[in-house]
Amino acid sequence: MKKIIFLLMLTTLFLSGCWDKRELNEISITMGIGIDELDDQFVVTAQAVVPSEVSVKGSTGGSPVTLFKGEGETIVEAVRQLSVITPRVIYPGHLRILVISESVAEKGLGDTLDFFERNWELRSDFYIVIARDMTAEEILSVTTAIESIPANKIFNTLNISDENWSASNVVTLDQLLGDIASLGKDAVISGIKITGDSEIGQNKENVTSVTPVARIQLNGLGVFKKDKLVGWLTEKESKGYKLITNQVKRTITILSCPSSGTISIELLREKAKIKAKVVNGTPEVEVSISSEANISEVTCQIDLTQKETIDKLEEIYSEELKEIVQGTIRTLQEDYSADILGFGNAIHRADPETWKELKRDWEQQFSSLQVNVKVDAKLRRIGTIVNSYQKTREE
């Protein structure tokens, strides 16, 4: 009897079968998805890899990726509608980039992102960008050199630029949803656009020529209020945003010399703190930034051997950083009244009671918030030469 029960239990194991088994040649690996809208319908564009074209051997010179487009009232419907075109099942497990068109972002991301959060096939480590002044489909249609898969190229560009330039923002799905859900911090997403002729950019010539006709490039930061896109930050303001939120890994700041020429300073380490306090019921926020930087390029006639020069430069540099930061805060307060810096959260932490009062009309409160900025910058190294060789020659 026991043996029969055991055998029966064993069969239940095999009844489950291989329901989610997928052979590698039954799926199309989708690395980029674009979302546009057309007459109240969602248009989903999937950028799927053509494996044989990407692999080292066996490439026939065809395009490494191919686009599939589906329409529907909801995202899911549009995705399922893709199956009328695709030869294989769309497999989004390795999604690298989600491109959302500006118009969709302006109407609000709430409805759009639900599917991506809910679907179990997706990892949540892909990046989200906003297609600026163009459709997501156009972005995904451009061919790229070196990184032959465009979705990969965008992913890598975001990473590299985040590390070396600090004017773009790397946002993953869970971060974005966290920001949208949070009252005390609004969301920020990098913008992306095509420079050049996007028509020719779709063709193979784009990657065969030395200078590509069309390039995909990152452009500014999109400021969100709740889940709606309200405006864009310039490059300088974007840097300010990164400085305040303590995200700068490396960035370049250019200072003008008293006479002529410039000094480029590379920021290497920064530590930013946002502290809030409530004085007599009115909240106040203090942003203190301490940073360490190197001098990386000098084209003016100054004597770097003197300690006074360095001290002076540090002072000017601090002022410059302060100006950048204040500019960003000003734009956010005056133009967008969107708290992407997380000041609301800082006040929440400092004084939860007051926050309960403030959060009701936080939008207005943010615009009139008193923000003090303190910057302390140190110059650590001046590189492998001391003075500019032009100066040395004059002496």
Partner: protein
């Protein structure tokens, strides 16, 4: 539990197959030697079917050559030089001239006289029945019979052609003794004796097999060994009622604890140093005549991963290599199944670049990953078996065909992906890392089971399979010792020689559970630190 039940039912339904064979009875009247020489010789000739290698020589000795005698021996098993020198010549030439010749009259106890005075051979004993006579005769001894006496003499002058002590082929080492056991029981026991010159090294010999009469020596160090286990081993050996033992594998199968398990619970080795080390740990060695493979009991799971070399190299590298062995064992068991599970169920776990690469390879390949892996694994098993069985001279041809067909042609023909070739190769190489062939065979079989589970349920199936294997391993015992000890039950002190090997000076005690007497292996500080401190 399942396995145990099966085992029980097996035992119930299959009574010991050889229990009907008769035990060696007391000497029957017809079994006794006769007084007449003619009768005895005729009897022997008849019993042995006039076999051509049985040489019967009739001679005359004594005063006036008046006494008839017979010499019987097996050609090829007897040292004919000593036969002529010390028996024939002594009796026929030397002895007849001597004074003692006068004493040789039929009425006296000729047999005792000859035994004491004439035959200059070390090993000599009386025989009165045919059974003993046949065993001795067929073992290579010379039988000496005299007319008028119902007893004879067995003269021990066995000698036959045999392999000498050569380097073992199955467990090779870079550093360590190069000698290996051979087919001769005496040489083998001598090899162990030479390593352990301890009066407590005891040996007991049993004869097993009604036809083969194979000598089985039970060897252990008294005072270290757990006597309960010795008793158990003897009991199990006594229980064997079989006509023939041709190799230690026969004994192994007859005395092992669990009959239904892919894992070996008895260790075999060709190396005297391994046997010596096992004896010093309190284990028991079974040396079987006719095979260079000596059995060691009890054998635990981790023991199969311990190479003798571990103790000859420095502790650090030995420990790392031993970890590597366990790791390779895992690969040998799991590599193909993990590949199947990842590429068919858990694509998101593969790095993107690799996934695209794999997908590109799979373009145009007609079989699912599981079938592909199965084809390659079976092909490899065929190659491996062919490699082991075929004549040596065909070896190179074979490897060319194997490497070319599997490695290159199949991939180029688009029948399989090159990744699966890599996976199968790594699996194959890993399975050869374990120092014991028997433990590698276990994963060789279980690998296919795991592949099936992986193809049906993905990683869940693999987890399921591993879980069952661990459960099974924990249920095994080797002569009463839990097979997975010192891991389960856990024993902290014995971890010194499990996954890692601590330096020799740290290994103060012998493994517990194996021997419960005389646990101390060395005095706590044999390490010469005191000298360093002084200087």
């Amino acid at each position: 539990m399942f396995f145990k039940k099966k085992l029980k039912s097996y035992k119930l339904t299959h009574p010991s197959p050889s229990s009907s064979l008769p035990n060696n009875p007391k000497i029957q009247p017809e079994n006794r030697l006769l007084k007449e020489l003619k009768g005895n010789l005729g009897n022997i000739q008849h019993q042995l079917g006039n076999s051509s290698d049985i040489i019967i020589r009739e001679i005359r000795i004594g005063k006036d050559e008046s006494i008839n005698a017979g010499i019987i021996y097996t050609d090829g098993l007897t040292d004919t030089t000593s036969l002529q020198q010390f028996i024939m010549k002594a009796l026929m030439t030397d002895f007849s001239k001597a004074k003692e010749k006068e004493k040789l009259v039929p009425q006296q106890n000729l047999i005792e006289l000859l035994k004491d005075m004439a035959l200059a051979v070390g090993e000599i004993k009386n025989v009165t029945d045919f059974d003993t006579l046949y065993v001795s005769l067929l073992s290579g001894d010379t039988i000496f019979l005299v007319d008028g006496f119902d007893q004879g003499l067995i003269v021990g002058n066995k000698k036959w052609e045999e392999r000498g002590v050569t380097e073992p082929t199955s467990q090779t080492v870079v550093r360590g003794p190069r000698e290996g056991f051979s087919e001769n029981l005496r040489i083998n026991t001598a090899l162990v004796r030479r390593k352990i010159k301890d009066p407590n090294l005891w040996m007991e010999t049993k004869v097993i097999g009604t036809s083969t009469k194979t000598d089985v020596a039970i060897m252990y160090i008294n005072g270290i060994v757990n006597e309960k286990i010795v008793k158990e081993v003897k009991e199990r050996l006594d229980r064997i009622q079989i006509d023939g033992i041709l190799e230690s594998g026969n004994i192994e199968e007859l005395i092992q604890d669990s009959t239904v398990s892919p894992f070996p619970t008895i260790l075999n080795t060709e190396r005297p140093d391994v046997v010596a080390a096992a004896l010093l740990d309190g284990r028991i060695a079974l040396i079987i005549d006719g095979t260079p493979f000596v059995l060691i009991v009890p054998a635990l799971f981790v023991q199969f991963f311990q190479s003798p070399e571990d103790y000859y190299h420095r502790a650090y590298i030995s420990s790392l290599i031993r970890l590597l062995r366990f790791f390779s064992y895992g690969i040998a068991l799991l590599a193909p199944s993990l590949f199947i599970a990842l590429t068919t169920f858990h694509l998101e776990m593969i790095p993107t670049a690799l996934l695209i690469n794999l997908a590109a390879q799979r373009e145009g390949v007609p079989f699912p990953a599981f079938v592909e892996a199965l084809i390659m694994e079976i092909t490899f098993e065929i190659l491996r078996e062919a490699g082991a069985r075929m004549p040596r001279s065909i070896g190179p041809t074979m490897s060319i065909v194997g490497a070319f067909v599997i490695g290159t042609a199949a991939v180029e023909a688009g029948m399989i992906t090159s990744t699966i070739v890599i996976v199968v190769s790594i699996t194959a190489i890993s399975s050869f890392v374990s120092p014991s062939y028997d433990i590698a065979i276990a994963v060789r079989m279980l690998r296919f089971l795991m592949m099936g589970l992986a193809a049906s349920f993905g990683l869940f199936g693999i987890a399921l399979g591993l879980f069952s294997i661990v459960l099974h391993l924990c249920s095994l015992r080797s002569f009463g010792i839990p097979y997975m000890s010192p891991l389960a039950p856990f024993n902290l002190a014995d971890q010194k020689d499990t996954f890692i090997r601590l330096p020799i000076w740290k290994m103060v005690t012998r493994p517990s559970l194996i021997n419960q007497q005389n646990m101390i292996k060395q005095k706590a500080t044999t390490k010469s630190t005191s000298i360093e401190k002084k200087s």
